[in-house]
């Protein structure tokens, strides 16, 4: 059994110095091994959003020149419109016996000569006269039922405010017909903005050259006893993880009038934050589930995610999920299989082994629809151990069955396809402000890794301290959120 000698201490003083090292027990005389035991595992698998954007090079990054940016999008052509006003009472019989009836639509989208289908999906009419704007009542269209039955009429409730009608193909007489018009849809704009993150690493005294009795792994695969290397690794991991979480969870903070209420007390300048991946997706498609996930619920999600997709089966959706959700996804499918009598078949896959040793465990990590589109499960560690998860654990917001934080039972379905050769998910950075590093050089020696940055990055102070300053601009852009979905477990 591994005996833990120390779980590590936390130091929150501004500067790291020799005293800090003593406090962190890095000068302890006895040791079991010079190798570092990482109690909480490696950190490299915790940055999926960073890897699929910044990690893809230019194709995963979009450069902008302003804090606010927009994406040109074009939605699905729509032929529906809502009723704005109903002039008929419950006992009226609009359109009875082929008489004209009035339909008041919100906009002038409907066109003369075109057909209409009512809210019941059965009532069919033709628009006989172009829309006429009536103040406070929208646009009035004169229509006639297509039914040949002399006693048919429109149910007046179908003309109630809020009911939706849809326009169908125009029909005209054989000769002497007049022309009509077709609607066109212009591109829309999705607005978002980037944020700026700032991190500093302060050191004092001769910390740059302090050696410890523990060997730390280096990026190149070797080891080092220089403490500053480990401290800088932690600094880098911390900021990457924080930025990763930020890009998932941040929320757009600019008011409709363009103002940003969060301002720096010292400078009075606005502090902007953009809509992260969660907000962008939740504002498109969102649902919740309870004690356990069912296959019916998964199918509801999937039908939304793959709604309107082409038949080529090339759509690739990643389901980024916490461990709780991954378990629920597997259970939902297995429960359905069991109830459908596939117990033996599933057992064959779940139990394997040879030589008298058995192995149990096989898990569903992918779902394929009838067109061949796939949803693949991708673990998202921050939902299990991120800031929100930690807060939920400490405050008892845990799932009663799995005892995991509620965030662990969340999933976000991201469309990872490419559109016109462009990645659907991109990191957005400001040109020239992508990632700025500088050394605040004081009397304290700077580590070799800092010095490698060159003299241009050196700035000065008289105090026996130096610091490594980092500023980054960051935001996340999802070009097409229509095929994305957020699914949360609700207590």
């Amino acid at each position: 059994m591994l005996r833990v000698v120390s779980t590590g201490n936390f130091d929150n003083s501004i500067h790291t110095s020799e005293n800090t090292m003593v406090k962190l027990m890095l000068t302890s005389p006895d040791k079991l091994s010079s190798k570092l035991v990482r109690l909480w595992g490696q950190d490299s698998d915790k940055l999926p959003l960073t890897h699929m954007t910044l990690g893809q090079g230019e194709s995963g990054v979009k450069k902008v020149n302003e804090v606010e940016y927009y994406l040109n999008v074009i939605g699905r052509m729509t032929f529906t419109d809502e009723i704005e006003y109903n002039q008929y009472g419950p006992s009226d019989k609009p359109g009875y016996g082929g008489a004209p009836f009035y339909l008041y639509a919100k906009t002038n989208r409907f066109t003369v000569q075109f057909g209409l289908i009512g809210p019941d999906g059965k009532t069919r009419a033709r628009i006989m006269e172009a829309g006429q704007e009536i103040p406070g009542r929208g646009f009035r269209f004169t229509c006639q039922l297509k039914s040949t039955k002399s006693n048919s009429f429109v149910d007046p409730t179908m003309l109630d405010t809020g009911k939706t009608w849809v326009m169908t193909a125009p029909t005209v007489s054989e000769s002497l017909s007049d022309g009509n018009k077709t609607n066109v849809m212009g591109p829309g704009k999705i607005h978002n903005q980037i944020a700026f993150n700032r991190y500093s690493k302060n050191i004092a005294g001769n910390l740059a050259n302090k050696v410890t009795q523990i060997e730390f792994p280096t990026e190149s695969g070797g080891t080092t006893n220089l403490w500053i290397n480990e401290e800088m690794r932690q600094f880098d991991i911390q900021l990457r993880q924080m930025n990763e979480e930020f890009n998932w969870t941040s929320e757009y903070n600019r008011a409709v009038d363009g103002s940003v209420s969060m301002k720096d007390y010292r400078t009075g300048l606005p502090i902007t934050e953009g809509a992260g991946a969660f907000e962008q997706v939740r504002e498109q498609n969102h649902d919740t589930y309870g004690y356990r996930l069912t296959l019916d619920k998964i199918k509801t999600v999937i039908s939304t995610v793959f709604d309107g997709t082409p038949d080529d089966g090339n759509m690739d959706i990643a389901m980024f999920a916490g461990d709780g959700m991954i378990d629920d996804f597997d259970m939902a499918i297995k429960s359905d299989l069991t109830s459908s009598g596939f117990t033996m078949a599933m057992g064959d896959k779940a139990i394997s082994g040879e030589g008298g040793k058995l192995s149990y465990g096989a898990y569903f990590t992918q779902y394929r629809d009838i067109k061949g589109n796939t949803i693949s499960v991708k673990p998202l560690a921050l939902l299990n151990n991120g800031s929100i998860a930690e807060v939920q654990k400490k405050n008892g917001l845990i799932h009663p069955r799995t005892k995991k934080p509620m965030s662990s039972h969340s999933a976000i379905f991201l469309d990872m396809s490419t559109y016109e050769g462009e990645n659907n998910v991109k990191m957005v950075q400001m040109t020239g402000q992508e990632e700025i590093n500088a050394i605040y050089k004081g009397l304290s020696p700077v580590p070799a890794s800092w010095g490698a940055m060159g003299g241009n990055n050196m700035i000065a102070t008289k105090v026996d301290e130096s610091s490594f300053e980092k500023k980054m601009s960051t935001g996340i852009a999802i070009m097409n959120t229509r095929n994305c979905f957020a699914l949360d477990c609700e207590l």
Partner: protein, 324 residues
């Protein structure tokens, strides 16, 4: 058979994020619009197995004697996903009562025995409607629309749905609220009575310029007093306040004689002699910055304290000079 129809409407709370508002033209009617699963709501429904047996077979198409009943009920409840459109989701939660329906006869008999009712349809169901909680009507009749009734019952325990508009802002997690048309009518009637009383009180004080000004100061509409050029301006400002804050105005008008000191402190705040610290009730002297009270009542007490008479007279002098 007696049919007692009743509709409720589940509507979306006006809670769009800044991002949604900014992008409404493109995003439109998307996002957080579904009544979905919830551990609490699911459990609340599943413990009522007798209730579920009474009307769920009509919804899921499985008999209670079917070996699959338990699993299918569980699956149905845990798969709820009901979109609430911008116009709301109207639910029929009424019932059909039939005294001859043998399914309900044992419960009806118990009711008749316990409450000594006459065994006729009209009396029995008049009693049910008047005395039995709607959540238990399933014992005596069939929902007109079982699916709607089931969803309404589910929403009573689904946290994102508030049971009425008053509770809608209690939490950011609330995304919908239930509008009961009967309640709306009752509320409109109550509001009408309140507005009538407020209007009577308005006319009662409108001839007294001091009272009009005092009411406006107490209502924290001091700016309207300071900018008024004529008595008519004051009356218009007070009328506007009455129309939108009838209940508050009634309290002020009924107690206007007792609130003279409060009106004085509010006038001092309006004229900048005192300063109310933002986002708190703390009040300070504007010229010295000294704290003179944690709220208006404390300032009233401070000014009425005989040991502060010199300070009080100074303030009154300033007010008098400004009022001229």
């Amino acid at each position: 058979m007696i049919t007692i129809s009743k509709q409720v409407r589940i509507v979306r709370k006006d809670k769009a994020s800044e991002y949604k508002i900014k992008n409404f033209k493109v995003l439109g009617d998307s996002g957080d619009k579904k009544i979905g699963g919830s551990i609490k709501a699911e459990n609340a429904m599943l413990v009522n197995s007798a209730e579920l047996k009474s009307y769920l077979p009509n919804i899921i198409g499985v008999s209670v004697t079917d070996p699959e009943w338990g699993r299918k009920v569980d699956n149905h409840i845990r798969s709820i996903s009901a979109p609430v459109e911008p116009t709301g989701l109207e639910l029929e939660i009424g019932f059909n009562f039939d005294v001859t329906d043998m399914e309900f006869r044992p419960a009806i008999n118990e009711l008749i025995k316990e409450f000594k009712l006459d065994d006729n349809e009209a009396d029995v169901f008049k009693f049910v409607v008047a005395s039995v909680n709607r959540n238990n009507w399933w014992k005596y009749g069939k929902p007109i629309n079982p699916a709607d009734y089931f969803l309404w019952r589910y929403c009573q325990n689904y946290r994102p749905v508030a049971n009425n508009v008053k509770d809608a802002d209690k939490s950011d997690r609330i995304r919908f609220y239930i509008v009961d048309t009967d309640d709306v009518r009752k509320e409109q009637s109550e509001m009408f009575a309140v507005r009538q009383e407020a209007n009577k009180l308005y006319f009662a004080i409108s001839d007294d310029e001091y009272k009009v000004k005092a009411a406006l100061f107490i209502a924290k509409e001091g700016a309207a007093v300071l900018s008024a050029k004529t008595n008519e301006d004051l009356l218009i400002s007070l009328d506007q306040y009455v129309q939108s804050n009838a209940t508050s105005f009634i309290k002020i008008a009924k107690n206007i004689d007792k609130l003279k000191d409060t009106a004085f402190v509010e006038e001092c705040i309006a004229r900048g002699i005192f300063t109310k610290i933002a986002h708190s009730n703390l009040i300070t002297d504007s010229s010295t910055g000294d704290n003179i009270g944690g709220n208006v009542q404390e300032v009233v007490n401070y000014l009425n304290n005989p040991s502060n008479v010199k300070y009080t007279n100074t303030v009154k002098g300033i007010i008098k000079s400004k009022s001229i």
